[in-house]
Amino acid sequence: MGKLHTATSTAMDPYKGAWGTTEAAHLTRRSMFGATSKDIVTLAQLSMSQAVDLLLADQPAETSAPLVWYHYDIGGVTQGQTWVNLPYDATNDFNRTQSLGAWWLSLMIGQKLSIREKMTLFWHNHFACGAASVGDARYSYKQCTLLRTNALGNFKSMVKSITFDPAMLRYLSGNKNVSGAPNENYGRELQELFTIGKGAETSTGDYTTYTEADVKAAARVLTGWSDDPATVGYSFTAQHHDTTDKQFSARYGSTVIKGGSDQAGAEREVDDLLTMIFNEDATARYISRKLYRWFVDYVIDDSVEQNVIGPLANSLKANNFEIKPVLALLLKSSHFYDLAYRGCVIKTPLDYIVGSLRTLGVVMPSQEGVITIYYGWIGLLITGGNLQMNLLEPPNVAGWPAYYQIPEFHEIWLNADTLDSRIKFADDLVSNKYQIAVQTYYLSYLDPTLFAEQSSDASQPDTLINDWANLLYPNPLNVDQLKTLHDTLLPGLPNYEWTAEWTNFLNNPSDAAKKQAVSTKLTTLLKYMLELAEYQLM
């Protein structure tokens, strides 16, 4: 593709342009799932810098836990109680995993004004791990908690935690990595995907940033560790650990990691390994590129590499790989607010689904309590899967191809089938026809009059349309589009007829006919607006 825009040398300078609801909405869409008018207003009232700081602020630990939504779990644990502290149970593990996914999704839907859930998903994509392969929902819950707790913490510490994470020990065969018969799986992905990244192969087995020999050496460093089902933690077996010294290639400055013999020694080896990897500039650049592709755009040309990725990497190094400073640098930068990049990101399925629910204020069914509530969330999870983003089941350890597959990147999310399905989903939400999974009689509910009341003046058609457009789209619509929207709301009628009918409804909110009169029009308008191509972008 041709060069459509370049990043200038001042790209990382703090943004000094206009700060209002439009810019706040841009920040919100990129750092959360969808934008609500309430959140936008809150952020717009702050300065840009304060708004970013608010999003990056520490959040209290999550107090809720995934619940039993099915009839009962082992040990007499019934619906509405959590299963996370129960022993493994093969019969219930699938239900537990569904429960975990549903609960995770519910945290996205109910997110506070914080970047934490977006970052939690970022790490899930980065440290991609498939729940079915792990095979124990408790493990996946633990990993999910690790990602959320450390979402805004320290990248290097998180890599260490992930190295000992029981789910990852299983997923990438760390638990089978023993002295004398090393399993290279984790040692490879740690470098290729989680930290330094694979560069160009300059000669056989030499990937510029590391070599095949380094994979083998790292695997030997990592021997001896295994997951522990009893504690849902990890364990160390000294006789499985390779106690010899490990020689790394010139790509790592020919570093030698001294062998350790006991658990403390083996853990020290892991620390040495990570220090060696994190000392390389390529590591800071690699994670910076991933953050850039997550929050800004997938095209990284020379200008972006030099003027954006470089400063981000420098920030990481200068701050010992703390995440908050680098995010603050990026989200406060003039590049982040550059008009040419607003709306260049195709929404992920979860941005689309969760964002639609949040922005529109869709009420999910709850008639039968926990079972209906969880069915609703599971239904949304399944929709996400149909749209090619299955929470807890990224396609492989590389995460979703939208973040690495050259040259399509984000465009992979959309094809004729998934766009069709997305629009069907939005149509169903707006028409109150979205059925929760299995329980076919319970439907989500959207009151378009409540959504209209978020407008600064819903009695004025043009104001209403403009306010909705600002909420739903990253960029202004053109005059023809606005006219079409106006004709959709008010075909062939003067504005004052809308004002009259809307006022009439507000004065008689319990009159079903008066409400229906305006609801039908609003629903038609909203359906149409959600079908515009612009709604697929953020």
């Binding site: 459509l4 959309l414 629009i423 069907k424 075909p491 038609t524 079908e531 515009l532 191509a533």
Partner: protein, 521 residues
Amino acid sequence: MKRRDFLKAAAPATVLPFLVGGYSIKAFANNPLLHSLIASSIPADRVLVLIQLIGGNDGLNTVIPLDRYSEIMAARSNIAIAESAVLKLTSTIALNPVLSGIAGLYGEGKIAIVQNVGYPTPNFSHFRSTDIWLTGSDYNQVLETGWIGRYLDQEYPGYPTGYPNAQMPDPVGVQIGSAVSLGFEGPTANMGMAFSNPSSFYDIINDTKTQTANTRAGHELGYVRTIGDQLQKFAVPVKDAATKGVTKSQLWPTANANTLADQLRIVAQLIAGGLKTKLYVVNLGGFDSHTNQRKGQDPLLAKVSEGITAFQDELRLNALEDRVIGMTFSEFGRRIKSNDSGGTDHGAASAMFVFGKNVVAGIHGSNPVLPANATVDDNINMEFDFRQVYASVLKEWFGASDTERMNTLLKDFPTIDIIQSAGVTQAPPLPSIELSQNYPNPVSISAGNRTTQIGFKTNGGFARLRLYDAKGSLVQTLIDNTVPAGARSVSLDATGHASGNYFYTLEAGGARSTKTMVILR
């Protein structure tokens, strides 16, 4: 397949919107009527065109009851049409003079006027009353499906699974103008394809796309739109039909001069091109005549007349008249008494036009009863429920069974004989007058034709032959006296007239006949 089965199956979208130039286009799949029509004696290729007059059309200034003139003048002298100016259809019924084209079609036996159509307990909200008309509900009933949608859902219960297919490759319903009508909403899916406006239709046909900005954001917007275009399951048949269907009538106004005519022209083009779509919805807004009604409603009615006349002419030229009928409707009529702003406020019953070669031409129903001194609260009483008109079309035009009609309209409404059908009704005997096409036509002054000959035949007595321009303004009176019975001819000198479309109307013995001519300078 039941609704829940469909949803479990996670089938592709039932509504198939796609995006053209940034506007979405909805495809309402399939042909709902094929099944039942195969089994019936009614041809399967019948088409219904619904013309929605948005805003509430004032019936009293559309179809004028001549026997109520004193009441009219008492109630609305500031907007009433002078009795001398009206187009008389019968001794007691006349049309607004801008409806000359409709008057002409009436003379040809192609117009049925249904008087005083409404519903009990009228609602004066535009939106609510529109919903009532589109959903076919009672005044106090809220339905979320449309009458058309409910009918189609019975005909094709499996919809949308399996459509389009070889038997029905085309959209079942096409709407031109804004978003898809509530009328098309079925229990499980909406059943139509909407072109947001005539130009978006041509965007599709011509594959033109709105340019996007040369930025990263513009690039991705272009990508989404490209994918959106791939969703156009019905784009190919619609494009094919639009390509094959060539409009031939000289009566179409220039583009953008009459939005209703522009929409009807597309409909004619698609029908002529072989599209199997059964239902078309077009609309014209602006009928909400609270102020200066004559300046608002008259030009709009002229557009209606011009559009329908050209449409009917197009059908005739393409030999499609047997297959197509149309009807106008509006959410309500207006008050009998005008207001002080030269307008009328939201009212109740009003007249509908049903048009086509196969309608039972004439007047259905009686002239509205008007109080001698109407107050602001007086409304025209309903004579026919609008669902009687729907029931009649379903039964006599589409051959719907009694059960289907019940399931569609939710009650048993008596039909009105507005559609010609074997053994049921015949059109009232047409008057024995004949009006021939003028010769030469067009009259090309630059080509040396200064005059053109108009032939006609009457039973003798008083006759009037007048020439109107396309807007319905009287241009010239050719005959206005008694003539002998039999065939005669009159010469029209065109030298003083501007280029354009004209109508000429013969009135004799209580009958009227209108034809069109084109004058070129």
